[in-house]
Amino acid sequence: SCTKNYDVYNTNPNGLTEEDLQKDNISAGIFLPEMQVNVFYCKTNDDYTYQLQQNLNADIFSGYFAPPGDFGGPNNSTYALKTGWNLWPFKVGFSGIMNSWREVHKRATANPQYIAIADILRVEGMHRVTDVYGPIPYTKFGTGVLSTPYDDQKTVYTAFFAELDGAIKTLSEFMVKNPTDNSLSRFDLVYDGNIKQWIKFANSLKLRLALRISYADPALAKTKAEEAVNDGNGLLLTNSDNALVVAGKGVPTRNGLWVDDISYNDTRMNASAESILKGFDDPRLSKYFLLSKVVPGDYKGVRNGIAFSGKPDGYFNSSSSSLKESTPVQYMCAAEVSFLRAEGALKGWNMGGTAKSFYEAGVKLSFEQVNASGLDVYLANNTGTQAPYTDPINAANNVPANSPLLSKTTVKWDEAASAEQKLERIITQKWIAIFPDGMEAWSEFRRTGYPKIFPVVTNQSGGTINTDLQIRRLPFSDDEYKNNREEVTKAISLLGGGPDNGGTKLWWDKKN
């Protein structure tokens, strides 16, 4: 028999072989784009992914968005946590980021800059995953044949810092040695191959993570935050530094929130967003959201965790976000960095300025970013507080004017205010500025308790989640209970004593 052609027969004509990947030397960097579009899933293929990765959890828990219907039954919005939904942040993290990271590491031995970029992207992608669940398999990823042990969250964060430090060092050295090298451009949807921008982003990310652990490990937090601020290559300082995933390099992208909102009609403005933005008379309201159809001429949000009648009952006509299909997803913006430094300064860290200066600069950067006007009036507003909320369909969901759910914080900086009041002001403004990054907003809400997001109206968690404290995490992935049962069961003990449910606090969630 002549079986010499069997290699050809047994090769998928639509799949790339190792030999194909060697052409044009793309092998080392070709898996970077996949990492970039999976932090917030934004490919046009399987564009339902973002909804499960983030929209039906963090985006609604953060107070930015709320579902206008019940998807046919109790679900996350009333804390009836759906296992089939809640495995997705984990799934996308591993299939979209970790696996591609492994490929880059395997192939880019001669291209240390690619490995450094992959490390930064991995930290940016996976900190969102650990911030959802707590312990994750991280340092031992890929070493097991059938199972991988979990790391506690402290170990994961320690690894994040080490990787960012290593990447910053590698890139700084690379930049000096190869000042004109732009080979990364082919694989870079974020900074088009600009290494210095990647270093700025890595420093800013390090600052974000430092503040995240500031209640759990204040000493390490301070060290890392000050390192980040003092690095010679700097931070994301202007809006032109913002880390955005821009379509191109052969990868068409689509904003997942646009899909969920405009295409699926599955998400709308949250009542908390309406309350805060209206209360501050915030010019960004009209930049972020569209006028509703349910209250013509006005913006209208939906409360989280309300009861639906099971029939179309009008919540669909609440405000959509103004995001476009082509709006790039944003990893981080300069305004966030400014608010992080404001909080650091508030803690007495050396951030290179005062809390007030960073706070006001943060608001200014945010206004600039969305091209909003009226900054001075806004910054001087010391009367506007969170506005009451009226549900146009069911008054049971109203938050009346005297409700304790409404915060009294205002916009105007008050140097005489308590540290806690200052913190609420900073985090509330950061929350507005980093819209629509629900994952980061939910994490910071859990860490600091701000802003005052309305609790769910109906709590169907069966007593596992406290309505006032709100949801603190998602249970471990159901896939892991099927396929990595022993290790995920062991990981429950890494949760710090709490059970594997939505009420258990993460390691860095130490403030309250």
């Binding site: 028999s1 002549c2 079986t3 052609n5 069997y6 290699d7 050809v8 027969y9 047994n10 090769t11 998928n12 004509p13 639509n14 799949g15 790339l16 072989t17 990947l21 898996f31 784009p33 996949e34 579009v37 490919k43 046009t44 293929n45 399987d46 046919g72 039954g73 799934k91 591993f94 299939s95 970790m98 696996n99 591609s100 492994r102 490929e103 398999p137 990823f141 890929g142 070493t143 097991g144 044949v145 059938l146 199972s147 991988t148 052969g250 990868v251 068409p252 689509r254 295409s263 009609n265 009648s309 099971g310 029939k311 179309p312 009952d313 896939d479 892991e480 396929n483 990595n484 290790e487």
Partner: protein, 992 residues
């Protein structure tokens, strides 16, 4: 007694001998060859079975006719010799076509072969002929869609493979057919069943069907035949006068059994005045029951089959032309099938019959529209069965679209919402959610055989089968967003698929007797090449462009995602088979085959061996035993990787959404073929002058090295691992019992088929984790639906959630007084029948014949998501009966709706016994003899035919036959499947 004459003797005197030849049922036999043995003079009986020939007293007349035992009669003085020829009972003395088209004497067969004639297959026609085999072959389980031309799942001797294919292989004239199975036939949300390859055949082209149910019989075909073979021999042209046959059959179909729905309780009032009405039957009791019944939706299905064949030729060259048109409309409006078959076959011989050529060409064109599937998507039956006819008017729904003057398009008229199960206006679905597929298929085959001597020949064969499917899906604007890609303008998908198979083989045949010994041997090699190439592309129509303009150019361009479909596989094989005979009553059969398959890293070999002993010729048996044979065989068959897991040994990096992504399946370079080891022992017995026949086979099969694709934690860097493991055992019995009774002119030929199969999962897979050294034994796999594969269990097991129970097994009620489900899974049954029993009866009286088939399946369970949903929506008759009887009172309040809402949250109460007995087929025919037409027309046969006329007994609230899915998952799972059909029709056959 006179001495027997020889040609040398001078005749005393010649006289004309006349007579009539009849069969043992009293029918006359035309075309019987009558030969004077001494002189060689021959003639044939005419259309009325009469002959006349000159012979002298003492001559021996030989009457021979294909399919009948020859008879010799010595001429005495009388001038009339009437002869009755006995049928060559089930070809026991004859030959059957076995694997690769090799003919073997039935005596020498070491395994079970069941043969059906064209007549048995075609008596009661089905557009897909395989469905006509139901109840006629023991050990064959058929499940199929009731839509005309839908796919059929044919399982012989039980399911063997967990991940692979379990369907029998179809072989036409010795060559395996590509399966051409329709897409999407494996999950619970099947969209549209495209039909399979076998359903394309023109049933009238079939001469004979042989079913080789065991691996021994089919080992020569290799892995693809490990589930048995259904072997089809097509008709050839016949020498002699040109014969024209025209057959026309018309059948009318109606739903056989529909679920019992209620029409006394209507919808509850909308929550707010003028709001959307709810779509369920949990509202108040209507003053008078509504008149709506789901039957209102169905139309009478019609199937017209018209087939013409012309046959003729000389002794050296025969041709057959056939053409057939099948035009069918389903019972669901707008479901259509149109099929046209054309074939031409020429058989010829040259050089004094040394060279035989056989060429056949076939063209098939088939067009289908809206082939029904099951599940929620695009299924009109959800809203039809759930329509609350007590308060709502179905006539309003018939007006399925209304003109929107602003958009200037017709928009869907459906006020009731999707009910969480993707419901739409059922007429909108049938008219505005269109699935159209056109298939053009060309088959060409050529065989050349050279006879070196009368015992040695070389045969070469090549067959090409090229099938192209072109499909379009048109989803009109205002279709439910979930089903239109959320575009306000509609959705359009186009698919093109080419499936091309080339098969070629070369066989050297040797067949010779040496004294008491004989050898029938074949050695050969084959090549099979399969190429599938296709493209599916489409998406939501651009919201900024034109509604209902179904062109790829009008699809949102960023959403135009080409999904290429490409598969290549080549198999090369070398094989041999030899049957050693001794005294024509003891036979040893051995086969061996070696495969080189492109999906596997190494070639693999598998053997079979068998023994057949005709005891009745070896020893003197009691008089009443006319024939007794024992047979015994063992075979192993290897199976290549299932196509669904193509390239498992050689993964490549996919491009997904413009990005190159890592592959997620760990390469499995040491993959071995799945291997079935089977053993069978059987007997063929005949009693009372061959009148009573019994055929029984016991078999046992172990299928090991099963192919598993296992999900692993993605934290190890892969999503799936592939491995060989497991052991699935099937054992069972196949029996058929036949009788031929003659009471004067009335003949009765009953035939009983009985079989059972017992499946057991002996082992799944286990491994030592190389990282931890831990031994992991996997005991259970979830297949989809409620199907579970469990070590120690059986294939097809159904698991559902149990209610919460106390220590005594009583229900633990919740605070509302309702039962509640626990997380405990219980085994609720198995979808496979425990026993299959059927009885076919043929009666013949003069020119009348009556046939009926009573078919039963005993045991086994089916699950109905339809019934569950009917309960949930308060639309089942059960819920109305319960309310009429005062409702279900829990904690002192009426909790009927809450109760049904609770129990219908799981499938547990909706597992039903599939036991049923039915009159599956009935036909009554009359043959007008040639004399009626002055012999201008040979004969006209008319018959009235019926299928599913009477459900004699059943337990489930629906016909368990509706189960349509042909994959391994979701077996026995009914989810708004199209009802089975009661068909009544008539058939006219003209032979000129």
């Amino acid at each position: 007694l006179r001495p027997v004459s020889s040609g040398l003797n001078k005749p005393y005197f010649l006289e004309t001998i006349k007579g009539t030849v009849k069969d043992n049922k009293g029918g006359t036999l035309p075309g019987v060859s009558v030969k004077v043995k001494s002189s060689g003079q021959t003639t044939q009986t005419n259309a009325s079975g009469q002959y006349s020939i000159n012979a002298k007293a003492g001559d021996v007349l030989v009457f021979s006719y294909v399919g009948y035992q020859s008879k010799e009669v010595t001429v005495s003085s009388q001038g009339t010799i009437d002869v009755v020829l006995a049928e060559d009972a089930q070809n026991l003395e004859g030959v059957v076509v076995t694997a690769l088209g090799i003919k073997k004497s039935t005596k020498s067969l070491t395994y079970n072969v069941q043969t059906l004639s064209s007549k048995e297959v075609n008596e009661v026609k089905d557009p897909s002929f395989v469905n006509s085999l139901t109840g006629k072959v023991s050990g064959l389980t058929l499940t199929h869609s009731s839509a005309p031309g839908g796919s059929t799942k044919a399982v012989l001797r039980g399911n063997k493979s967990i991940s692979g294919n379990n369907n029998a292989l179809y072989v036409v004239d010795g060559v395996p057919l590509p399966s051409l199975s329709g897409a999407g036939t494996t999950d619970g949300f099947q969209i549209s069943d495209g039909g399979d390859g076998i359903s394309n055949l023109n049933p009238e082209d079939i001469e004979e069907v042989s079913v080789l149910s065991g691996a021994s019989a089919s080992a020569l075909y290799g892995g693809q035949a490990s589930n048995g073979v259904i072997l089809i021999t097509t008709k050839k042209g016949k020498a002699g006068k040109t014969a024209v046959n025209f057959n026309s059959s018309t059948t009318f179909d109606n739903p056989f059994i529909l679920p019992k729905t209620q029409n006394t309780y209507g919808t509850p009032a909308p929550a707010t005045a003028g709001g959307t009405p709810a779509y369920n039957g949990w509202g108040p009791k209507a003053a008078t029951p509504g008149s709506y019944s789901p039957e209102d939706f169905f139309q009478t299905g019609k199937t017209y089959t018209n087939a013409l064949s012309i046959s003729g030729g000389t002794e050296k060259n025969q041709s057959l032309f056939s053409a057939a048109a099948t035009n069918a409309e389903g019972i669901i409006p707008n479901n259509k099938l149109d099929r046209y078959n054309f074939s031409f076959r020429n058989t010829s011989s040259y050089f004094d019959n040394k060279l035989n050529l056989d060429a056949r060409a076939e063209y098939i064109y088939q067009k289908t529209q809206n082939m029904p599937g099951q599940g929620q998507y695009y299924n009109p039956l959800t809203s039809v069965y759930l329509f609350p006819g007590a308060s709502e008017n179905f006539n309003n729904v018939k007006n399925y679209e209304v003109f929107d003057p602003i958009r200037k398009i017709n928009t869907q008229n459906w006020a009731y919402g999707d009910g969480g199960i993707n419901m739409q206006n059922p007429y909108w679905i049938t008219n505005r959610n269109l699935f159209q597929v056109q298939r053009a298929r060309v088959v060409g085959s050529f065989t050349a055989k050279y006879n070196f001597t009368d015992y040695l020949n070389l045969q070469g064969r090549v067959r090409m089968d090229r099938s192209t499917d072109q499909g379009e899906t048109k989803i009109y604007a205002t279709t439910l967003g979930n089903l239109s890609g959320n575009s306000p303008n509609g959705n359009y998908t186009s698919l093109d698929n080419l499936n091309s198979q080339t098969y070629a083989d070369l066989l050297l045949n040797f067949n010779k007797t040496f004294g008491d010994f004989s050898l029938n041997a074949t050695a050969g090699a084959s090549l099979q090449n399969l190429t599938i190439k296709g493209l599916t592309i489409g998406g939501p129509l651009d919201p900024y462009k034109v509604p209902n303009f179904f062109s790829l150019l009008n699809v949102t361009q960023a959403n135009l995602k080409p999904v290429p479909n490409a598969y290549r596989e080549q198999n090369q094989a070398a094989f041999m088979t030899a049957t050693f005979g001794y005294k024509n009553y003891l036979f040893l059969d051995v086969t061996g085959r070696n495969d080189w398959n492109s999906t596997l890293p190494k070639p693999f070999f598998y053997p079979s061996v068998g023994l057949s002993a005709v005891v009745s010729e070896m020893a003197k048996l009691p008089e009443f035993i006319s024939f007794a044979k024992l047979r015994l065989s063992y075979a192993e068959v290897g199976n290549a990787i299932p196509q669904a897991y193509a390239y498992a040994t050689n993964p490549t990096y996919p491009i997904n959404g413009g990005a190159i992504v890592p592959f997620t399946g760990k390469p499995f370079s040491t993959l071995k073929p799945e291997r079935s080891k089977s053993f069978e022992i059987g007997t063929d017995l005949r009693f009372m002058d061959n009148k009573l026949s019994l055929n029984a086979t016991y078999y046992k099969t172990h299928t090991v090295n099963q192919f598993f694709r296992v999900n692993v934690s993605e934290t190890v860097g892969y999503k799936t691992y592939d491995l060989n493991a497991g052991d699935v055992q099937n054992q069972g019995l196949e029996m058929s019992l036949g009788y031929r009774a003659q009471f004067g002119e009335l003949s009765w030929t009953p035939n009983i088929n009985f079989s059972f199969n017992r499946n057991k999962i002996i082992d799944l897979y286990s491994y030592n984790d190389p990282a931890t050294g831990q031994f992991i034994d996997v005991k259970q796999i979830q297949l989809g639906g409620s199907s579970v594969i469990r070590k120690g269990g059986a294939y097809g097991e159904i698991q559902v959630k149990d209610f919460q129970r106390d220590a005594n097994g009583g229900l633990v009620l919740d605070d509302k007084g309702l039962p509640q489900y626990s997380n405990n899974l219980i085994t609720a049954g198995n979808v496979n029948p425990r026993y299959m029993l059927s009885m076919n009866n043929g009666f013949k009286y003069k020119n009348f014949n009556l046939n009926f088939l009573v078919d039963s399946r005993i045991g086994g369970e089916v699950i109905s998501n339809t019934e569950r949903t009917l309960d949930k929506f308060g639309m089942s008759q059960r819920t109305a009966d319960s309310r009429n009887a005062g409702g279900i009172i829990a904690n002192g309040v009426d909790a009927t709706q809450q109760y049904y809402g609770r129990i219908s949250s799981e499938l547990t109460p909706y597992v039903y016994s599939a036991t049923n007995v039915r009159l599956r087929e009935l036909s009554l025919g009359y043959t007008f003899p040639a004399q009626v037409f002055n012999n201008k027309i040979q004969k006209i046969q008319v018959s009235v035919i019926g299928r599913n006329l009477w459900m004699i007994y059943k337990k489930a609230p629906f016909d368990p036959d509706v189960i349509t899915l042909t994959g391994n998952a979701y077996q026995g799972f009914d989810d708004f499947a199209m009802p089975s059909l009661r068909s009544i029709g008539f058939n006219v056959n003209f032979t000129f």
